[in-house]
Symmetry: C2
Subunit: 682 residues, 2 copies
């Protein structure tokens, strides 16, 4: 069978309604239609061509980004594009750019932290992009720990100004996207000092460059921080460095929604609840989880299609076996396919959670905030770590050709991995989850009822004693059985950790610390018993987060899902996701006595059986993501399966093939062959 | 404490003789001295500067490689450089180049597969580099499966020539390094056809380019296959594509050491034992294991030093805590440090194994070959997979700054990962190991005694019944206890898999397959029961390979190791390596009943205690690798710890900083700010 016949043949075997699954994946028919239209729009515009990015030098690449951003802005400017459409369009353009920070951080920071007056002044300018802004928080020597920032903002009451200053080299702002070359303004985070006293870290609107000629203003040193991982990837972004030499700004450019500084330099708390700001963190992390399912599904789509096209070994009748038919391939690939769907649905649920939290905050109900925070922090960590690993695994699943940029996977990996460290380092986030779990467990005795995703801990006594009732492989397909196994594992791990903690004289201390980009009061996770046992605690947090994903997937299956065979496929994927986790973390399940070795072995049998059920539907299950070839950006993942002729064609575009003889032939190769090297004893 | 004071302070806490450890790491005083001299030689020559590689476009980068290769050749040509020194020099130049293939594959192929006469003709030309050669085996549609190659070599008795031809697009040679732009010759693998009959795949010496003007010869289409993962990385190599349109070569350019084709087109087997060739495979894989420990130790050195320099959170007294003091960091980092040493020692042992195999082959003793083959295949797979993952983990351990090319880690990852797929895909290799293990187990009843690394399976009855005697955390430090736990785990997994296999009607079939680049008779691993259970079988193979690494590390500790405190440090690392594996694979140990949950918990306690013992010695343990800052190629890993000023300095070298205003400012940024976009409704 020729390459181009393989995928149609695969599609003919599909046992479910792919169009219905596309709606499920997109979330709604409307969402599907918007995405579909925008994806095609981007794919059809040659200006958004992206397969050349890995061949461009830094300057060309960056210029290319500036051009594409302008075309986006022009498209947004046309009357046919709604805000939702604009978001999808940016998504399918698929290129990190300064606009991400302008719209995603600068504008929201002013909205969230600025007074009404400040919003009225700055937002119109920002909306029209008469100013371009970035978010200058992290410093050369300070990442996750906002309270460690060194930049100062000292109030000078004589002039009614703040003096923004970088007192040390390590206080240089470092990393902000859009800062290096483009932004005219920044929200700068600095230690507020008035009347000689420190008042914590706050945000200030600072103009960086002249609006006339774009030159840096006096006292400001600014530049790009240099090449990052990958060929294109985040090198389209001007992550920047910035230092201040006593730069003065008017007092009214401190963002004063929560704390105001008077003209005498007095600090006055406003009556705006600080917690309002924390809703933003829930929002940002929810989008990160959604992005994880996008990146993961993209990698899985490439690897699945190419695994069907590629043949190796096993030529019983002269034709080699499709790689996707090997159980070792299925065992690596199908759990990733299942994870893509699992993360999609937990992301959908997080959207609901964000709405719920927002409504409660508006009603001054802060009761669910800590649980929502722990939950989003944990899911951000879990999904981004899994996705980064999965992209690289998908690359390996494509064999040698996955190493070519033409496969799309190297760039996808390089552009994705920062998600593991930005918006909260993944391990630090898990420690926050662990802290919340330990606190929840410690309060069980007091009658305080755990809520939301921790509600199961209210049944801790049952969960400590329950016995898994699996006797056959099929028993693992009962939702209640699966859920109980994951609940029991997590509950028992939490309780065991809490018991170990209690053996320490000082299991925790009361020090506060601040998380990620926003102040959030959680007890510092690095203290005495907690510090000593932190690696174990992280494992308990992972178990809890995996339970959330499994339970939200099971919940999804309880919904009415239209489309012939669609629910059956989702069920298969749900159980693959859960059983694969069970196998990977078998030590947890066995050491806590949640299941027996025999039951674990039955789980493996069931997993193999599920792989066989997914196999004929694998191509259709990735088709359901509805990705254009443009968005996939991969010769290996082409919809038509015409991989090898296109790989061959693509090769000739490399700059090295511009000429038959390479640059340097005359200087280096010819003399070598002709034995004309200096000193050569050849 | 200033950055530059931190590492000296760390070094002052060292509890062992670092110079003695350097000798242990290098393998001998002589090896240390050669390495040390060559490392300094390379570091001191500005021609070998490498921190600019990530900023070069493909053409410049490639020209740069040609220049550096010439300088190497000139240095080799000077009378002061021995072959050993030349090898170390290339190692420290640290750049993939066409010369790797010329010396590492082309020359050895002629040596191994050419007749005396052929060697006399071709080797002198190759040694003098009057011709430059590459190794053209893999094809666009065919990687691991040599027997699937499509290129044909049809003998034409009338002209006493072979006709080399690419009958399909997928038969295009694809990937060979050095092919795209430089090589004048190649050893080409093709299906031999004489008198209308096929005689398997063989090697042929084919001239590709004119020795006068370097133009491709008639019938030959040749080029570079395009960009690969990373900025510099393997983009310094001209991996190539090559097709033949009925290219004729004289009959005597088929490599005929094993099989000869007469002028009438008859095939005649020589009396050279085919197995002689397999020694090469053991050799190549042994060097890959050694390379794994080099790459891993380099990443660990960077991450360890920066973990000491970097501070985050925990400012009890105004100074933030060194990241290396967090248990979560230690729990991720120290097992990688331990793995670097573990892989070093197992690599050393493999060198011995290769010598032993070679001596036996010369004496026509092939008895140890299957075991040696399985062992090297498994260790290649185990160490390269672990190293690739570890480099990325080290990158994450450096936080956000690990994402900068200046950290050295993105390029190290990108240049390393192909090791997981070349010279045998890592999963395919594990299946070969599993096959060998299943065969060994099935023969236990017949009285055939397992040898070498499988000898423990001879004690399978004891190992099925033994009970781990650990009662305290310290009990885990007994070598016999540790070894038995790993032996029992592997033996029990093997036996369980063999039992599961026996339940299938057709547990295996007799089909032969050929491995990697060399013909090696092993039963095909993808057949019926074996195929169905292959994912489980891979796990048994991993358990067996981990046992080998643990046991060789324990063996090393039995040797006389001079130097104050050196052995104690190695002991700590050995047990960290083993106990961390035990924790990661706890499901294996518990489900086979090798240890109890209580013993697993004690193992964790012991692990934490070992981390505390390693902590004060961590910097010295990476200093012992004796890497120059040049070789490390990382601002974060600098010996002097002066990280932040150098990161700041490095940033300004980016091409984007050549000018204050970026290319594209006038076309794109200015009009955007001035609202002069077409159609804009802004």
């Amino acid at each position: 069978m020729e390459g181009v016949d393989i995928l149609p043949h695969e599609r003919s075997k599909t046992q479910f309604d792919v169009d219905a699954m596309k709606i499920v994946w997109a979330g709604s028919r409307h969402a599907f239609e918007v995405s579909d239209r925008m994806a095609r729009l981007v794919a059809s515009d040659p200006a958004f061509q992206k397969d050349n990015r890995s061949r461009l030098g830094r300057k060309e690449l960056f210029k290319n980004t500036l051009e594409e951003s302008n075309i986006c802005m022009e498209t947004f400017g046309s009357c046919f594009v709604t805000e939702e459409e604009a978001g999808r369009l940016r998504f399918f353009v698929d290129e990190p750019a300064f606009t991400d920070l302008h719209w995603g951080m600068f504008v929201p920071a002013i909205k969230g932290q600025g007074t009404e007056e400040q919003q009225q002044k700055w937002l119109p300018l920002a909306y029209k992009m008469q100013i371009i802004g970035c978010y200058a928080q992290t410093e050369l020597g300070h990442g996750s720990n906002v309270q460690g920032l060194e930049t100062t903002a000292t109030f000078d009451p004589d002039k009614d100004e703040f003096v923004i200053h970088s007192p040390t080299l390590t206080s240089s702002k470092w990393w902000p996207g859009g800062l290096g070359k483009v932004s005219t303004h920044a929200v700068v985070y600095a230690r507020l000092i008035t009347n000689g006293e420190e008042h914590g870290v706050h945000g200030f609107i600072v103009q960086l460059r002249s609006l006339d000629d774009h030159m840096p203003l006096p006292g400001i040193t600014i530049g790009d921080i240099g090449m990052k991982f990958g060929n294109g990837a985040y090198n389209t972004m001007d992550n920047g460095v910035l230092t201040f030499d006593h730069v003065r700004i008017p007092r009214n450019q401190m963002l004063m929604r929560v704390l105001q500084v008077t003209s005498e330099g007095k600090c006055v708390q406003s009556n705006v609840p600080r917690q309002l700001i924390y809703g933003t963190m829930v929002f940002v992390r929810q989008t990160i989880v959604a992005d994880a399912s996008s990146a993961l599904s993209r990698a899985v789509c490439i690897a699945t299609r190419y695994s069907a096209v590629r043949r190796q070994f096993g030529s019983q009748d002269g034709v080699e076996t499709q790689v996707i038919d090997y159980k070792t391939q299925q065992n690596r690939l199908f759990p990733l396919l299942a994870s893509a769907y699992a993360f999609r649905f937990v992301g959908e649920w997080l959207k609901w959670l964000y709405t719920d939290v927002t409504q409660r905050l508006q009603a001054n109900d802060f009761s669910t905030l800590p649980e929502a925070h722990a939950c989003t922090a944990g899911l951000k960590s879990l999904t981004t770590t899994a996705t980064a690993d999965a992209i690289e695994e998908c690359r390996k699943l494509c064999g040698g050709h996955g190493y070519l940029c033409a496969s799309g996977l190297p760039e996808l990996f390089a552009v994705y991995v920062p998600a593991c460290t930005y918006e909260g380092d993944n391990v630090v986030l898990l420690l926050q989850v662990a802290r919340f779990l330990m606190k929840t467990v410690s309060q069980l005795g007091s009658g305080k009822k755990p809520i939301g995703t921790t509600a199961y801990l209210g049944r801790v006594q049952d969960l400590m004693q329950c016995r898994c009732e699996v006797q056959t492989a099929e028993d693992w397909l009962k939702p209640s059985v699966m859920l109980e196994a994951f609940e029991a594992r997590s509950a028992r791990m939490c309780v065991a950790r809490a018991q170990n903690l209690s053996k320490f004289a000082n299991p925790e201390d009361g020090q506060m610390f601040l998380d990620g980009s926003h102040a959030f009061p959680l007890i510092h996770p690095f203290a005495s018993g907690f510090a000593e046992l932190s690696a174990d605690l992280v494992e308990a947090a992972v178990a809890h987060c995996q339970l959330i994903v499994v339970s939200k997937f099971l919940d999804k299956l309880q919904q009415d899902i239209p489309g012939n065979g669609v629910k059956q496929q989702l069920q298969n994927l749900c159980y693959i996701y859960a059983l694969n986790l069970l196998h990977k973390h078998l030590g947890d399940f066995l050491s806590t006595g949640c299941i027996t070795p025999k039951q674990a072995s039955l789980a493996n049998d069931q997993l193999r059986s599920l792989y066989s059920q997914v196999r004929p539907n694998a191509i259709a299950l990735v088709d359901a993501f509805n990705y254009t070839d443009h968005y996939l950006g991969s010769v290996l993942g082409r919809y038509d399966g015409n991989v090898y002729p296109k790989l061959y064609e693509e090769a000739w575009k490399d700059p090295l093939n511009d000429s038959v003889l390479p640059d340097g032939y005359n200087e280096y190769i010819h003399p070598l062959l002709k034995q004309q090297l200096h000193n050569a004893r050849l």
